[in-house]
């Protein structure tokens, strides 16, 4: 091995670095990650543990257009004064923000079923968490493949 100092930056390296800066400035300011979703869920549930079950998150397994994806959350609950679902929260991994929607309901709902249409920026996992009147949290997740991502034109 010779003892030469590392090569001085070549013209090519300088150009690459400049291109890198250009690209990084074009990237959108915020992008949720699985860690960001984890954090958002933690902020909702606090120290409580989130159990699997009771909740059913229905999403198509594959969609062509991420701009309108039908989504239904069903929670198995008698929905009476003593035992009901008080909230349903939906999170995602890869949109710019980890939040999708939060719904507040109560015994007047009769059935803990909510449907909406969402935007998904990429193939990813979506998580639904239900908060029950006894303070427990239950969840379900679904993986979805998105062919044409929402906000692709932006």
């Amino acid at each position: 091995m010779d003892e030469r100092s590392p090569d001085p930056p070549t013209r090519r390296l300088v150009l690459l670095a400049a291109a890198g800066i250009g690209v990084s400035r074009l990237v959108r300011p915020a992008a949720a990650t699985p860690a960001a979703m984890e954090e958002a869920i933690r902020a909702l549930v606090g120290e409580a543990t989130v159990e699997h079950g009771k909740v059913k998150l229905e999403l198509p397994p594959i969609v062509e257009n991420g701009n309108t994806v039908p989504l239904t959350v069903t929670v198995d609950s008698p929905m009476n004064e003593a035992d009901h679902v008080s909230g349903i929260h939906i999170f995602n991994e890869k949109n710019p923000q980890p939040y999708i929607a939060s719904f507040d309901l109560g015994p007047r709902a009769g059935k803990a079923v909510v449907s909406t249409r969402v935007r998904l920026a990429d193939s990813q996992q979506v998580v639904a968490i239900a908060r029950l009147s006894d303070g427990s949290f239950w969840s379900d997740s679904a993986d979805i493949v998105v062919t044409l991502a929402a906000c692709a034109e932006g």
Binding site: N67, V113, G154
Partner: protein, 106 residues
């Protein structure tokens, strides 16, 4: 005023669980898109939805930019008595649009 579609039964039996489907025309601009000049298009979404049954809150939603344009929300409620079911949508400019539908419970 934005166009609104609300679907709920006009009459129901007492105690029946009815489905309510709502849709409002709104672009739900995320704030992450860039316009033709390269400037970011400012965020403009409906962030709150509220449903009251004879003045009592039965359902509420907090929406984020991840909700598709023309937000569609479907949910259930128990038909307890005849009266008014009111729906209101609030956007980022704090403007609220309210629609009222009648229901007859027998």
């Amino acid at each position: 005023m934005a166009r609104v579609l609300i679907n709920l039964p006009a009459r129901a039996k007492r105690g029946e669980i009815i489905e309510i489907k709502t849709l409002i025309a709104h672009p739900m601009e995320t704030g992450y898109r860039v316009g033709p000049t390269g400037a970011a298009i400012p965020r403009d979404i409906i962030n709150r939805f509220l449903c009251t049954y004879n003045g009592e809150e039965v359902f509420r939603a907090e929406l984020f930019p991840a909700i598709a344009a023309n937000p569609f929300i479907a949910f259930f409620t128990v038909a307890t008595e005849s009266g008014e079911i009111a729906f209101s949508w609030t956007d980022d400019h704090k403007e609220t649009q309210t629609e009222v539908r009648q229901i007859t419970v027998e």
